[in-house]
């Protein structure tokens, strides 16, 4: 039975390999046939007789070295060639009026009128500044120098410096105002992203993400679901729209900022093969520091003393023996393994004549440090851009992904809780199956069973995704263009879960106690966008661009889940639920939402000096109440390129100076479908013991609000972009202020009203901040040594301005306080521990020495709800990132650091409320727990209370877990070597780069880690916080907390990137 499981793993691995080889073969075949196809396409164009003049020439850089691979295109046509290795080219053009456009990465684009010339010598200027760089601004593009809003742009090179399974974690610390915090340590997880802080008051993490997370747009199409479906290597560029004047074009979708992802597409020219591979190994950066054997025994003794000498948690015989013979098992060390990551990516791209193409496949696989946790992904991608006729273009991008994610189980808290005084193996070498025999927790099963009995553990999510975007473009007249974008995104998830008996996760011993689970979910989104663009320059100086949009979008999802209990044989797992002893269905899910949008945008530029952008968008959303479904968003932005003014020409040090200002309104429809209709809670009940009495039941739990409308955010942004000393130093400074009103929030009602919550348009928030981005080439030496650095810094201050009732200053139940950030900690103030000398005073509060001492804020000698106050929040005082690059003769070294300072971190594993929250049995010594400086009669510390075997519920323990979460981390160090072309040309390889990267090399500064409270202050999950003994929930469930999850890892990667 066991064997069968491993066979199926083998099958899967085998299947993956076959898929990979198969993919590569297909690529090679397609490459050959495509070249033939491309040639015939070119011939077909030749044969129509349009070309009748041949121009030859060569392209040089300023230093007179020939440039190979330059794109040369006859403007307004599909006719193009690429310069040869010596920079020479030959192209047939239609007439002397033809204009040739020369473009090459890293150089300025140059247009040349052919005229009478037949032999051209073209010199391209290196693009010293990124000002001509094209930036995606949503429903179009603009040159950086023409942008009026606040946009951060991150290129593929930057992203690839930190290879991760998803691009979001690669963005950490790379752009000002983008705050990314880890919220999981599972393989394949992403993080929580906020651009310029939170705006909306949400009650849960899911709701918070729904309203405040940025919109992700891939090739113009909104991208739902997991970002891990996109391979970082497929990304050409990421542009992040931050201010409202830029995001207003996304209207109701744009309030949280917009991340625009552009994927790689084919470029005209010979086929270019790109092969990317890296292999990484990862290890835990450390283990949770728990009591060792003797410390654990002492802790139990102290807990017994703390309970007046009695304890239900004495040592078992085995533990007693273990103490005598020096057993001190480090369970974490036994379980965690070395993780690994591997990615192969092969692609080919090119284009000739009217067609540009790219296609490729990749395989990504990650094994986590927790046995049983892994993630793998296969993807195939194709892009085709085709010039159908002189005025018609069409193209497609199709990304197809298949991923398997095995989440295994979470052994972490079990490992920390298990007694160190028992041995993992029995003297005869067999596994000590139930190491806690003779104790209250005698059923606990040895954690090593998750390795020895891995075939009984399955927690698999299989996802198929196909993300497709098609476009057609029609040049109606020269300046007027119509474009249609159609997006279709389809995802299908299947969950397969099996927990057989005799493992750490299912401690039962018989197969009738196995559990099985099968879930299926599908989701699709379609988007249809119609765009009209008019772009014309009048009288040489007035450039007008108008964009009009009409679009509709529909999202759909549904799911069904079934649970089984018991199975007749282990190998059946969840494959045939009909063989389960019992079967139940979970609630099915179904949601649909629709959005209709109209948008108009006018860009006007006078002489490249004065720029104006005006936008209006109108959105209608199905999730809002009838009659309140539409909302209009205006935006206006102005910019002044001061450096283009005549009077600046003489001020040589300043190479670029631009002033920008913008205002806009964006909004949010971030409520769940059907919130305006209301939902009944579903229960079941059996009247009596016969099926005749079985009935479904319903409860009113939430109230419907029939007048829900939009929340809206208005934002002002002022920015300065500057470049000094010929762009050797560049930078920008942004200041913004935003106000959000009519916030859609789920308002918790007093329980006595009978309904728990209602969604309302209420509340106002405000945010303001500063963002500074600097770039500099610090050293550039003649011998080729170069040191450049990028730095970003941002501060955001969010606060609640008004609650549902204008007179209300605090809504404790929901954790909202006027004047405070959107999520705060509201609890008692821990002064320390009651000492023996204070026992009389302690008794006033019903406490005794060794217990937590809380400040009696109102001095009434009673500790209750009115002694709570705001004692911290999750908003950092500032965040910053720094990237240093050193290069010398093909060798480069990159170092990325990231800081998030001044926020409070919440650590549930130092808390307990006797219920499901915090660390169950935290201070009563029933189980092992984290090492800490606890109070005893001889150790009168103020840090942690006295252990007490008599109490599951440590009074005021929630206050133990609020700690300084500031940190500065080294994100990555990467060392690369580009082999010289002299070497590579012999083997027909155009470039080859080898690199070594270390991710998460070390933590530079963190009081949390330094004090031994944990491994990483950054967070790894949500909630888990104890209720406050003073009443209420001190930390809202939406806050990221540091839970007892898998330790963070340090990863070394070895990679190769080759073009040929």
């Amino acid at each position: 039975m066991v064997k069968n499981r491993s066979e199926s793993i083998l099958d899967l691995k085998c299947f993956r390999k076959v898929m990979l080889i198969f993919g590569i073969c297909i690529l090679l075949i397609i490459q050959n046939s495509f070249q033939g196809l491309a040639a015939s396409v070119i011939n077909s164009y030749r044969s129509d007789g349009l070309q009748h003049k041949t121009v030859t020439g060569h392209v040089l850089a300023v230093n007179n070295t020939p440039l190979a691979g330059v794109n040369i295109i006859e403007k307004g046509t599909t006719n193009g060639v690429i310069s040869g290795p010596d920079g020479k080219f030959s192209i047939a053009v239609s007439s002397g009026n033809s204009i040739l456009t020369f473009s090459f990465i890293g150089f300025e684009v140059k247009d040349v009128v052919v005229g009478d010339q037949t032999n051209l010598e073209i010199t391209l200027d290196e693009s010293l500044t990124g000002l001509n760089e094209v930036i995606v601004i949503g429903y179009g593009t603009a040159r950086k120098k023409d942008v009026t809003g606040s946009v951060a742009s991150i290129g593929a090179g930057t992203l690839q410096q930190v290879q991760t399974s998803n691009m979001i974690s690669g963005l950490q610390g790379r752009a000002a105002g983008i705050d990314i915090v880890n919220n999981s340590t599972q393989p394949g997880s992403s993080g929580q992203i906020r651009i310029r802080g939170n705006r909306q008051m949400a009650t849960t993490s899911g709701a918070s993400d729904a309203v405040d997370a940025p919109l992700l747009v891939v090739d113009g199409i909104p991208f739902g679901g997991s970002i891990t479906d996109i391979s970082t290597n497929d990304i050409e560029n990421i542009d992040i729209l931050k201010d409202a004047s830029a995001t207003a074009i996304y209207g109701s979708r744009g309030a949280g900022g917009v991340i625009l992802v552009t994927t790689k597409r084919g470029k005209a020219g010979k086929p270019v093969f790109n092969y990317n591979v890296y292999y990484g190994i990862s290890n835990a950066t450390g283990f949770y520091h728990v009591f060792d054997g003797p410390q654990y025994a002492k802790y139990k003794d102290e807990a017994k003393a703390g309970n007046g000498g009695s304890s239900s948690y004495g040592l078992s015989t085995a533990e007693q023996d273990g103490l005598t013979n020096g057993t001190s098992t480090d369970w974490q060390k036994l379980i965690y393994r070395q993780g690994s990551t591997v990615e192969h990516q092969l692609s080919v791209s090119g284009g000739t004549g009217g067609t540009k193409y790219s296609f490729g496949g990749s395989y990504y696989s990650e094994e986590g440090i927790v046995p049983g946790q892994d993630f793998s992904r296969f993807s195939l991608r194709t892009t085709i851009d085709h010039q159908i006729s002189k005025r018609l273009r069409a193209g497609i991008n199709t990304m197809n992904t298949l991923s398997y994610s095995n989440a295994g189980g979470n052994p972490v808290s079990g490992l920390c809780r298990l007694s160190p005084l028992v041995a993992p193996y029995l003297p005869d070498g067999t596994l000590n199956q139930t190491p806690l025999t003779g104790l209250l927790d005698n059923l606990t099963v040895n954690p090593l069973t998750i390795i020895t009995n891995a075939a009984s553990i399955k927690n698999l999510t299989r996802r198929i995704r196909t993300f497709n975007s098609l476009y057609g473009e029609w040049d109606i007249i020269d300046a007027l263009k119509y474009r249609i974008n159609v997006g279709l995104d389809y995802r299908q998830d299947q969950n397969d879960n099996y927990m057989g008996p005799n493992t750490m996760y299912n401690t039962n011993t018989t197969l009738d106690k196995a559990t099985e689970y099968v879930g299926n979910a599908e989701a699709w989104t379609y988007t249809i966008e119609n765009l009209l663009t008019y772009d014309k320059t009048f009288l040489g100086k007035h450039r007008v661009t108008f964009t009009g949009l009409y679009s509709i979008q529909k999202d759909h999802s549904l799911g069904n889940q079934f649970n089984g209990t018991g199975i007749i044989a282990d190998y059946l797992q969840d494959y045939n639920l009909n063989l389960a002893n019992t079967l139940t269905a979970n609630n099915g899910t179904f949601t649909e939402r629709g959005l209709i949008s109209y948008m108009g945008r006018l860009n006007y530029s006078y002489d490249g000096r004065y720029l104006l952008t005006a936008t209006v968008r109108r959105d209608g959303a199905s999730v809002l109440s009838k009659g309140h479904q539409y909302f209009t968003y205006p935006a206006l932005a102005l910019a002044w390129n001061i450096s283009n003014e005549q009077f600046m020409k003489n001020i040589k040090p300043i190479s670029n100076l631009k002033l920008r200002g913008g205002w806009g309104v964006t909004s949010n429809q971030g409520i769940n479908p059907y919130a305006t209709l209301g939902v009944l809670g579903v229960d079941f009940y059996n009247y009596g013991s016969t099926p005749a009495g079985n009935n479904p039941g319903f409860l009113v739990q939430n109230l419907a609000n029939k007048s829900l409308t939009w929340a809206s955010t208005s934002q002002f942004n002022i920015g300065v972009d500057f470049g000094l000393f010929n762009e050797r130093f560049t930078g920008s400074i942004e200041l913004y202020q935003q106000k959000t009103k009519d916030i859609l929030l789920s308002m918790t009602l007093p329980p006595s009203n009978g309904a728990s919550s209602i969604v309302v348009n209420a509340g106002k928030t405000q945010g303001k901040g500063v963002e500074i981005t600097l770039g500099a080439t610090i050293i550039e030496m003649k011998n080729g040594f170069k040191w450049s650095a990028d730095m970003n810094f941002s501060m955001n201050r969010e606060k609640i301005v008004a609650l549902q009732d204008p007179n209300l200053k605090e809504d404790i139940g929901n954790g909202w306080f006027v004047g405070q950030p959107l999520s705060v900690i509201y609890d008692g103030v821990k002064l320390g521990i009651w000492q023996i000398a204070d026992s009389v005073q302690a008794a006033v509060y019903g406490c005794k020495p060794g217990q937590i001492r809380i400040k009696d804020l109102n001095g009434d000698n009673i500790l209750n709800g009115s002694d709570r106050t705001v004692i911290g929040n999750f908003e950092p005082k500032w965040i910053g990132g720094m990237t240093n690059r050193f290069s010398f003769k093909g060798i480069d070294l990159t170092f990325v650091a990231y800081a998030r300072m001044g926020q409070t971190v919440v650590v549930p594993y130092f808390m307990t409320d006797g219920g499901a929250n915090g660390y169950p049995f935290f201070n009563n010594s029933r189980v092992n727990s984290l090492y800490r400086d606890y109070w005893t009669r001889t150790n009168p510390t103020n840090a942690f209370p006295r252990p007490d075997a008599g109490s599951d519920n440590v009074k005021y323990s929630s206050t133990l877990g609020y700690l300084d979460g500031s940190f500065i981390k080294a994100r990555s160090i990467s060392l690369g070597y580009n082999l010289p072309s002299s070497l590579l040309s012999h083997i027909n390889v155009s470039s080859l780069r080898l690199y070594v990267t270390c991710l998460n090399p070390f933590i530079i500064y963190s009081p949390f880690v330094k004090n031994g409270y944990g491994l990483d202050p950054e967070g790894n999950g949500y909630g888990g916080v104890s209720n406050s003994t003073l009443g209420g929930t001190p930390v809202p469930g939406r806050a990221i907390t540091v839970n007892l999850n898998a330790p963070p890892t340090r990863q070394f990667q070895f990679g190769l990137n080759m073009n040929f």
């Binding site: 239900s312 009738d512 009409y550 549904l558 079941f684 404790i812 209420g1032």
Partner: protein, 589 residues
């Protein structure tokens, strides 16, 4: 021309896509959730009632609820893993919120049932039955709310507008509503369970039981109305006289009362149903005590028998027992209060069978042949652990192979262990045992028995004692139960008759304390005690007498005698009332 056609086709396709059905895109049609409109259908009205019954599973059988109504009384001490907050009157805010929240959530749903049920298309008889159920349930929750919190908000109409304001109504108003609802329910409910409300759902008898208790409780309270005790007594007499009509009666043997087979038997008036059905019973099997709707009453009263080692009280040696299904899952939350039970309530253990039928005191060896200092235990034969309600001689201890834990705490004899056996090992209350559940750690599959016919006699006795009848009436009522308790199936008729005679009391013996002791004998651990002591205003006095080390000290500090006779208003309620006057807390918190 060719290209022109291409353009045309392209344009055509575009137009088709542009005109894609886009007005409908803003309409909503839920398909996997039930909208409140369903309430306006017959199925919705029944579903609302059922939802409320189902929601009760979130209270009775849960640990928080156990702490609230069992903890901090004269009957129990905190077990080794118990929560000191209730047992010792510490801070209780965080554990008190469930009853409040669930009661009001259910009351609101019931108000919806009453509103829509009045007009929805139903046969008159069915409508009457549904509405009577609803009235019963509304009164049921208000009765527990008013006893627990005192003045509470009184809502009798379905909530249609969200409000963050609320205020408390006087207990007089709340009792008036309870009595109105229950009087109507008692008239309109059928005498015996009738489909669809099968099993032991509300009937006319259970409504009368609750009404009697409501009169009794109001009679004791500051909102007393003259005639309350009389009304309570009369209702009890009505139930006893007409017991055949209601299909109710007492079992001959007290041992039959609390066994699984009789959960739907003649002595039971009303239960909260549970079953092994994963769907309708909302039963979770194999889970780690996580299902909030599980009936875990079979866990809380258990001692930590698997940790008692062979050398006890010294350390070392193997465990003499292992956890198994018949002996149950040891939660160690509640420990019997030895001094009160042994010396007072169950001082009579010969003629009265109820001590023996309430507690398990012996554990038969089940962990192989374990060697203790006094011999080898034979599995399934020898008693491995014995927790007698008396002290034993050293000679007897030496002759006993297993472990003996006596009430004085001996052999541990630790003066700080508050006596009453050992916090980890004590007699186990067995009324809620469920030996037929599937897995060791599973909650009980038995229904939670709420109202029993036997308590009608106790209510009648208390009402008579308080003036609703004569002392003779009170003694008569108590004697019915006492004489029944004298019966043992393994004794001869003559022996039983003699025992019954010995158990019979005279009117002169009827005192309030006697009635309260009798309630312990009959109903020990049945989730009533805290309310009993609060109702009879004896909480402080009886804790002073019987629970001085654990529960009483908080009283003696600086609080008036009847402080803590109300539980605190949940802090969430106070925090969330953000409009209008602040929601006041009960005194002492």
């Amino acid at each position: 021309m060719k290209r022109y056609i291409k353009s045309l086709l392209f344009l055509l396709l575009t137009i088709v896509l542009m005109l894609a059905n886009c007005t409908k895109i803003l309409d909503e049609q839920p398909r996997a959730s039930v909208t409140p409109d369903y309430f306006t259908t017959p199925g919705g009205v029944l579903g609302g009632i059922t939802g409320v019954y189902s929601d009760m599973r979130n209270l009775w059988g849960t640990e928080g609820f156990l702490n609230m109504v069992v903890g901090g009384t004269d009957e129990v001490l905190k077990g080794g893993s118990g929560n000191p907050n209730f047992f010792e009157y510490g801070i209780v805010n965080s554990d008190i919120a469930d009853l409040w929240r669930i009661a009001y959530q259910d009351i609101n749903t019931i108000n919806g049932v009453l509103q829509y049920g009045a007009t929805v298309a139903l046969p008159d008889a069915t409508r009457l039955q549904y509405l009577a159920q609803a009235k019963f349930l509304r009164a049921f929750y208000y009765f527990y709310l008013v006893q627990t919190y005192g003045d509470v908000p009184l809502h009798v109409t379905f909530l249609s507008n969200a409000s963050t304001a609320d205020s408390r109504a006087s207990i007089a108003d709340v009792y008036a509503q309870i009595i109105t609802d229950l009087t109507e329910a008692a008239d309109q409910l059928p005498a015996v369970p009738t489909a669809p409300f099968l099993g032991k759902a509300a009937t006319s008898a259970s409504a009368k039981y609750l009404l009697a208790k409501a009169y009794l409780t109001r009679g004791w309270s500051g909102a007393a109305v003259s005639g309350d005790f009389q009304a309570a007594y009369n209702l009890c007499v009505d139930l006893i006289t007409n017991k055949a009509t209601y299909g109710i009666d007492l079992w001959q043997d007290y041992a039959s009362v609390n066994i699984k087979a009789n959960d739907y038997g003649k002595e039971v008036l009303f239960v909260i149903d549970h079953s092994t059905d994963l769907k309708y019973g909302e039963y979770t099997t194999g889970s780690a005590a996580s299902g909030p709707k599980e009936n875990k009453s079979n866990f809380y009263f258990r001692p930590n028998y698997p940790t008692i080692n062979a050398n006890y009280p010294a350390s070392g040696g193997s465990s003499v027992m292992i956890r198994d299904i018949p002996n149950g899952r040891p939660f160690i939350r509640v420990r019997p209060n030895g001094p009160y039970l042994i010396n007072q309530a169950f001082a009579e253990r010969v003629n009265d069978s109820r001590w023996d039928n309430t507690f398990q005191v012996a554990w038969i060896a089940n962990n192989g042949a374990i060697t203790t200092p006094r011999g080898i235990l034979t599995p399934a034969v020898d008693t491995a652990i014995w927790t007698p309600p008396f002290e034993v001689t050293p000679a007897r201890r030496a002759a006993f192979k297993g472990i003996i834990v006596t009430p004085s705490g001996a052999p541990k004899n630790d003066p700080t262990s508050k006596s009453s056996w050992d916090p980890a090992m004590f007699p186990s209350m067995k009324k809620y045992d469920d030996a037929t559940r599937a897995q060791l750690n599973d909650g009980s599959t038995r229904p939670f028995v709420m109202f029993k016919f036997s308590e009608v006699y106790l209510i009648a006795a208390e009402a008579a004692f308080k003036g609703g009848g004569t002392l003779q009436n009170a003694a008569d009522m108590l004697n019915v139960l006492r004489q029944r308790a004298a019966y043992r199936s393994n004794k001869s008729a003559a022996q039983n008759t003699a025992a019954a005679a010995a158990m019979t009391i005279t009117p002169a013996q009827v005192t309030l304390d006697f009635i309260l002791d009798e309630r312990t004998r009959e109903l020990y651990g049945e989730y009533q005690r805290w309310w009993d002591l609060v109702r009879t205003q004896t909480l402080s006095a009886r804790l002073n007498t019987w629970n001085k080390l654990e529960a009483y000290p908080k009283y003696s500090a600086s609080n008036p005698p009847n402080a803590f006779a109300l539980r605190p208003i949940p802090q969430t309620q106070i925090d969330l009332v953000t409009q209008g006057p602040a929601f006041p807390q009960n005194p002492g918190y």
